[in-house]
Amino acid sequence: MTLALDETRPRRPVLSRLAAIPATVGFGFLWLGFMAVCALFADLIRPYDITQMDLMARLAPPGSPGHWLGTDELGRDVLSRLIQSIRVSLVIAFGATILSALFGTTLGFLAAQFRGWVEHLVVMLADFQAALPFLIMSLAVLAFFGSSMWLLVCLMGFYGWERYARIARGLAISAGAQGYAAAVVQLGATPSRVYLRHILPNVASTLIVSMTLTFPEIILMESGLSFLGLGVQPPESSLGNMVGFGREYLTTAPWVMLAPAVVIMLTTLSISLVGDWLRDRLDPTIR
């Protein structure tokens, strides 16, 4: 916008705009920021090393001196392990969510642009992906190639891509048949301009909502794999991994399992709240 005509829409000061954020969304932002800080500075804020054992204080309850969240069966500090787990799980979940969104959206747009056999192939792959029990495929891949962080991120990145592909393809086709995309093509725009400048911003809200759905699913999927022993390998730890091992002490030392479970719950909830709010904010027709 180069024309200086913005007087009609007065800009409210930043503070009052922040005040307009609903409390739940504010909480979501705070929690996610807190998680990000934990993940970024895990090495600095962690009180102990994650493998350091305090055999005198095994299964100490939360609030014990020196161990705020207690210790596990080997006397390892739960708080330290939790902080490290947040880092590992967030890296996997964010990496995988972004990977699957990129991959799925690209394939969906390619299908919408070229139609014909490209579209048939993409739709067939998406059907194949949807029909395949993903957990079993992951087990097979991890059993063959061993488990590493990168493999795990890439594998999880293939989870849920078919949803993005379907959404992107459907919305792009409907925009192209009788709508703004056809009009812009008619103006002489190149396909990359049509897709990146027009279709992508218009379908972004739907894709973001889809991402907020995929993100918790990937955390849970990683938890499941770690629980089965094929995800993050000990002594490294992830949220799912902690829940899996803490399960055995559920009756005697519930904090070992509950601490990571609460983090999983609050993080997925925050992502949903923030994602939903973001979707509305990004849409100029809802204001």
């Binding site: 024309l3 007087e7 009609t8 709508g179 703004y180 056809a182 103006l187 725009a189 100029p284």
Partner: protein
């Protein structure tokens, strides 16, 4: 004058399938249409829904590929669709859409959208583009303070003005308007039609105006082509065609427009629906509804013949020698 746009024997066939494993039947949406538009001229294309008007409009722009025949723009054949040459040509030929809300991107301000063709075709510097947008908005009657608005914040008539301003941004030589006013209120229709006429007078662009509204077409167009089931059945200067329609279909269309002070009994009411284009009647496609059909109409397809200077119609009963008998 050499025509800016020339179309010869355009054919567009859609395939429809009935049921899951049904037979594929071809539908000839546009069937051998030829026409020419001179610079500065407005050609109206009228017809019922499903007569192939919109398909023809898109084919004239090269948006829909022609399956037969060819379109020549400025004497050169239309480049292949979605090639750089085709895209570059968009700066010279533009389209105004029926539904302005769906033709606009609801996430961009209208100034950004009017500017878009200038960005795409790299016209001028950023400052020149901004001043061009401002002058375009003034020309189509939008206020400068509306530049930062989004399409959904405007009324239907204002949105159509945005679409028109965007279409005119690169100073095209040809504008195809596909039912530009049929989605608007009658009071707004008049404004938009007047706007189009004014713009045409000041810029001298050629226009193809597709509509089913005969009053609008009569008001705006120099020449009119009447379409029925994918073919042109009559063509001629607007005034002469509406005053003395030759083809029985045109007569029925013209008589359907109510005129204040004239009793309605003289209207020709067409019987039945337009035939299914997939099962086109033999001979003259109109014979099943024609009030004056004769046995020969069922057998032979009438060609478009010149009946008077500048006029042509496709009817066995309108002889070139005796046009008065059918009028």
């Amino acid at each position: 004058m050499t025509p800016i746009l020339e179309a010869r024997d355009l054919v567009r066939i859609y395939e429809t399938r009935e049921g899951l494993f049904g037979k594929v039947t071809p539908v000839r949406a546009v069937d051998g249409v030829s026409l020419a538009v001179s610079p500065g001229e407005t050609l109206g294309i009228v017809g019922e829904s499903g007569s192939g008007k919109s398909t023809l409009g898109r084919m004239l722009l090269g948006v829909d590929p022609a399956q037969g025949g060819e379109v020549r723009f400025g004497g050169a054949p239309m480049p292949e669709r979605r090639t750089p040459a085709w895209r570059a040509l968009r700066a010279r030929m533009q389209m105004v859409f029926q539904d302005p809300l769906s033709a606009l991107d609801r996430r961009l301000t209208i100034a950004d959208q009017i500017r878009e063709p200038l960005d795409i075709h790299r016209v001028g510097t950023p400052e020149e583009r901004a001043s061009r947008v401002a002058s375009l908005m003034r020309n189509v009657g939008l206020r400068p303070d509306q530049a930062g608005r989004y399409p959904h914040e405007l009324s239907g008539g204002q949105r159509q003005r945005v679409v028109i301003a965007r279409a005119l941004a690169t100073d095209p030589a040809l504008l195809v308007c596909d039912e530009p006013v049929s989605a608007l209120d009658v009071s707004i229709q008049a404004q938009v039609v007047n706007l189009l006429r004014d713009l045409q007078e000041t810029t001298g662009l050629a226009m193809v105006f597709i509509s089913h509204d005969l009053k609008v077409v009569r008001n705006l167009c120099d020449r009119v082509a009447v379409m029925y089931l994918g073919r042109i059945v009559e063509e001629g200067p607007a005034e002469a065609l509406f005053a003395r329609p030759q083809h029985p279909y045109t007569q029925a269309l013209v008589s359907s427009v109510p005129v204040p002070g004239r009793p309605l009994d003289s209207r020709i009411i067409l019987q039945g629906e337009p035939p299914n284009p997939a099962a086109r009647p033999s001979g003259c496609a109109f014979h099943s509804r024609c009030p004056v059909a004769e046995p020969m109409c069922r057998g032979a397809v009438p060609g478009l013949r010149v009946t008077a200077p500048g006029r042509a119609s496709a009817c066995h009963l309108v002889a070139g020698a005796a046009p008065a008998s059918a009028a």
